[in-house]
Symmetry: C2
């Protein structure tokens, strides 16, 4: 569903090939959605099969044909419906927390190593996101720009929350080990 939104949302602005879509996803929504190339092509085929997009094949010399996808009125309607649909219930899958939950068996040093690795990951993520944030201009913003920036901000506040949790957890661990 979300990848469908991504594809339709991008096709709304201009006709694109699967290749283009892959690049755009990597350039813009990668911080909250990771998409595999083959998955993009598969989903795109489904859009066409469902009549949500249409293909124009453009021959190119030296390069493979370019299959340009353009959104249909049905696709436009589907995007609008998907954006307005009730929020799907969350089914969390936090593999890191699963480890923490059972990490007691590792002893204090094993746990510390887990937390250290997690901190490194969270710091790296935060650095990456703040770099992107800094690169982009501030005011004046359209609603669209504000929202795209907001997804970035979401990643930042959660990365910061994770680091704060790590501080807290590490200090609790010191107490628990005494």
């Amino acid at each position: 569903m979300s990848l469908t939104i991504a594809l339709l949302g991008m096709l709304e602005l201009s006709p694109l090939s699967g290749y283009d879509l892959n690049k755009r996803i990597e350039a813009s929504v990668i911080h909250f959605w990771s998409a595999d190339q083959s998955q993009i092509y598969r989903t795109l085929s489904r859009l066409v099969a469902d009549g949500l997009a249409e293909v124009t094949v453009i021959a190119q010399d030296g390069k493979p044909d370019r299959r340009e996808h353009r959104i249909t009125p049905a696709g436009h309607a589907a995007l609008d419906a998907a954006l307005r649909a009730p929020l799907e219930p969350e089914t969390p899958h936090e593999s890191f927390l699963m480890r923490i939950f059972f990490a007691g068996a590792l002893g204090i040093d094993g746990v510390r190593e887990l937390l250290r690795a997690r901190r490194e990951e969270a710091s790296r993520l935060l650095a990456r996101l703040t770099t992107i944030e800094a690169r982009d201009p501030g005011r004046p913003e359209t609603i669209g720009q504000a929202l795209r920036r907001a997804t970035l901000r979401n990643g930042i506040v959660h990365a910061e929350a994770e680091l704060a949790w790590l501080d807290e957890t590490e200090s609790v661990l010191v107490t628990a080990s005494r």
Copy 2:
């Protein structure tokens, strides 16, 4: 992998049936891992096939046979290895942020509705987690207890971060719409 850890981690404490495991997961790790009953049984079968657990069938009158699973030495080793393995790279899939990213097309009211729904969800989650947190005793704690509590705290700090982000985003939206 994570469900494997959950099952082995719980079997480490005592032998359990699939039914027991399902109930325990619902009672203890549900705030960061949602597991389907059929998935639990399948994963459990795989543990047995891989020699990580052994089954004892216990006949009961009135109720179906109880297939009690007990962890093997290989299972113990596998759990330890899984807990110590390097953190798997994150592949984020935040469907809510996907909507926000493309929600500009909905206009300001549509976006506000999305944020409102999200806030309700986050508030409900926070309330649920803080209730559980309050119910459980404070000091003195073993490392295991501290870690289990830490997974709960993780959920709490992220729920709070989400609410803070919602405040921020709503106020940005007011500015952007002017």
